[in-house]
Symmetry: C4
């Protein structure tokens, strides 16, 4: 996958997941808060079922992506007339790079399976989905770490910057095993996923420029620029996640207001109790 | 112990412990949940005693293994007619490698002693058993780290991959000192133990191949393959632990159903209260 | 910014923030304790509003500083007649160092924005302000880490000591996301900020001495002295924070005593209940 | 202090503290448990005061030691007729090594001051004593890390093993800031202090042998032996702490029994309620 497309594909994958998470989590938190303000038992039931179904689909999509990538690769490179036909060793290791990439996707597939299991059975230990995602990111970073040996300086550097995002995401998700449903952690996980996504694109642009002259892979100035560029990518990622959070919040408020036309009285009561419970919460966290 | 057997022995040790843990822990959790659903005080007492006895035996086995390995080694290499007869220094250090391996086993013996103490006295601080296991794994990794100095590249790499499993297990067990009886941590500890077990075998196969030509210990491709292979081992370890968990769960369900023939009414009540408490738990973790 | 002023500026910035924090936090804790001892609801309201406003101003100041520095730099170096006029690339990267420094300030600006948002809306997740400050410090350290490549030994060493303070502060603030309003963490954050401030000055004095001969940047003795010097800086930082804490405490006691002239009876009751709640707290933490 | 005595002095210091802690902490826990079993309010008061006084003395001793060492050194090396008379710089840095050692003692003095403050005022934030001890250990390790540059291989290695004990102790104490009065952490802190103490002696014996030929500082076998030896030291440290814990426990039991001659009835009741509360505690930790 040593070309631009090979980097754009995982980049798109992470970008989409980052965006999706930065919409899903604030939405869930807003719904959860609303449930606390006196909605009927029927509504609560409905929302829990809805979110479980969404998580189920998310897991299924992960499995699907992992299978798709593996399948495409198998068809494209393994079983062509003069391909290795699934042999890993034939007078030396065959297409090791591709096997490595498949291994990475394999662990994201496992993470998908853990998601599906967590949602479909109540006997699966809480936090297994987060642990498997953390593991998938760790394995990705682990393989990348030994991946870029013996390459040009800038090539190594740009990949080691990727590792910051990957291992950062892995550590973040590991924390979520123990601090589940923590908004700050979900916020930073979303932003790190988007960072990874855009950075994969950046790697593609630098190593396989679509136009213009190739980059000088040994100059120190280029390394310094790329380091700084990584920080700018994160600024953009933070901005995107921030906008998504605000968007979801305003959209949810607008929906509530429209609903209020139908049943004005009920909402007014709810808002009152909501704000008072909010105040209590604020004092509580203040005195913690 | 620089031969295949020397790597197969600890491999078997960790493999067995990993398998044993992946049966013991889900079993304990299922029993604990059942106890909460209205079983008599007599049953609860019975299970607590049973699990304490199992932990006691586990500790005793660790001590026994540690002693056995030390004894066998002492008889085989120390007190043969021209052996060093227990001398550590005789015109240079004598059989340092063996002393190092014995030191590793010593700490697993200490861990066994801590297990036995924890179970036999209620004055031993809670968590000492986990701390001593974490320590034993740390010492194993610590000695391995300085063990492979000045060796071939692949030899060093394959041992440093082992260290990932060893230190991962140590950190995992250290967390369990503070988050006791956390199913996710027990799950990952079991899988890391199995990974260590199978990886010891892999090291044996690579460095002392039973048949076929020896591996080229300097090629970069071999290093890349071994790194990837490590991930596959972990996939297998996760699969094994997953199957054990499912197996224990289904076996336990099947037992309950057979028991239900005897006392149908009691169980039905219990299941109802169980599922309702489950629902409460779900909501609680949801709102956390 | 490779001159004395370029190091004095951020030094002053951190020094001021460290001093400010070591006054703000003990003050807040004393007020919080007083609120618990039966003050009217009116007083409590007043103090919460006061402290929120202070945090708001702190955030605004951060944004203002970040903008000011960027603006000054843009005017001074970018848009002079023969400057690069905002171009980053013109036959090689232009003024990379300055762009790097601006990037650091950018993240402190983001931290300021997070502060302002946290205070002005109750929908922003609790802990986002701390996370963004931790991130700003991490980015600072991250850029510094790649900043000092290819320099003299002492230059590298003196900057890597700075990294100890920077990453220490970042880790400290990250912990505060989860352990909010922990006095010990606030104490050490204040001291680390002051350490960073004074150390920036020290770097300036060593690399760009105002008078006297330049330092020998390669002698091992100089490196050993600078390492030790770093510890002395921290001693001073601890001393300063300690004095601030004591000062705030005594000032607050003196205020209370003066107030007591007006309404003696109320205070006496308050002190009694305060000391008894203190005793209860002491026992509680004792038995924890 | 590059002689045997210079290593024996801090070794004795840490050994004594380790032994003292491994007696103080189990004693405190046993007394705390007894207080919970219905002793009068008078007894509780008495014990709290006793333990506070003990901690006060411990802090004062730390300050005293730190001052004594500094004083002795100042008298012995600074103000002799041809000494540097307190000058740090005189045609090059003067006696840097000694200044470094004094800096280490300085931070243990600060830790002592924090102990004294914590015990004498209830306004000092809880955990400051642990934080300052953690800091003192960190500074010790930090200075040692840059201390052994450019030395023989074995010299470097034996000091880097010391760092394992030092940084381990620092991390352990940092955890205690947040998990105060955790018996397992206190146990491991005591053992790490003893390990540090005996290892200082070991360093003295290896680098400045009292008798016999000097060690070969470059052989790889010596390095391997020393690594293993470090593990044996820890085994001994664990054994010592274990014996102290058991000793304190049995001594306390023996005292209780003697006391029981005087007031048999009261104790019997107490034991009963104690064991039942123990059982409740066991179940609680079991179901956690």
């Amino acid at each position: 996958m040593a070309n631009f497309k090979g980097h754009a594909l995982p980049g798109t994958f992470f970008l989409l997941f980052g965006l999706w998470w930065s919409i899903k989590y604030p939405f869930r938190h807003i719904r959860k808060r609303e449930r606390q303000c006196g909605d009927g038992d029927r509504d609560r039931q409905k929302h829990t079922v809805l979110f479980n179904r969404i998580d189920l689909i998310e897991g299924a999509l992960k499995i699907f992506f992992a299978l798709l990538v593996s399948y495409k690769w198998i068809m494209a490179e393994q079983f062509v007339p003069d391909g290795p036909h699934g042999h890993l060793y034939h007078e030396g290791w065959v297409k090791l790079m591709n096997w490595q990439h498949s291994t990475m996707y394999l662990f994201f597939g496992i993470s998908g399976i853990a998601d599906v299991l967590s949602m479909s059975s109540r006997h699966v230990p809480v936090g297994l989905d987060r642990l498997s995602l953390s593991l998938a990111l760790f394995v990705e970073g682990f393989l990348f770490y030994f991946h870029v040996h013996n390459r040009a300086t800038l090539d190594q550097h740009i990949h080691s910057l990727l590792l910051v995002a990957v291992f950062g995401g892995s550590a973040n998700t590991l924390l979520e095993v123990f601090k589940r449903d923590n908004m700050v952690l979900e916020f930073s996980r979303s932003s790190l996923a988007i960072l990874q996504g855009t950075w994969f694109y950046q790697i593609g642009f630098v190593l396989y420029p679509l136009s213009g002259p190739p980059w000088d892979l040994e100059t120190h100035d280029n390394i310094m620029f790329i380091t700084m560029c990584f920080c700018w990518h994160y600024t953009v990622a933070l901005l995107i996640v921030g906008i998504c959070y605000c968007g979801v919040f305003w959209f949810s408020k607008w929906c509530d207001r429209r609903q209020a036309g139908d049943m004005e009285m009920g909402l007014r009561k709810c808002t009152a109790s909501d704000s008072s419970s909010q105040k209590a919460l604020l004092q509580e966290s203040d005195e913690e």
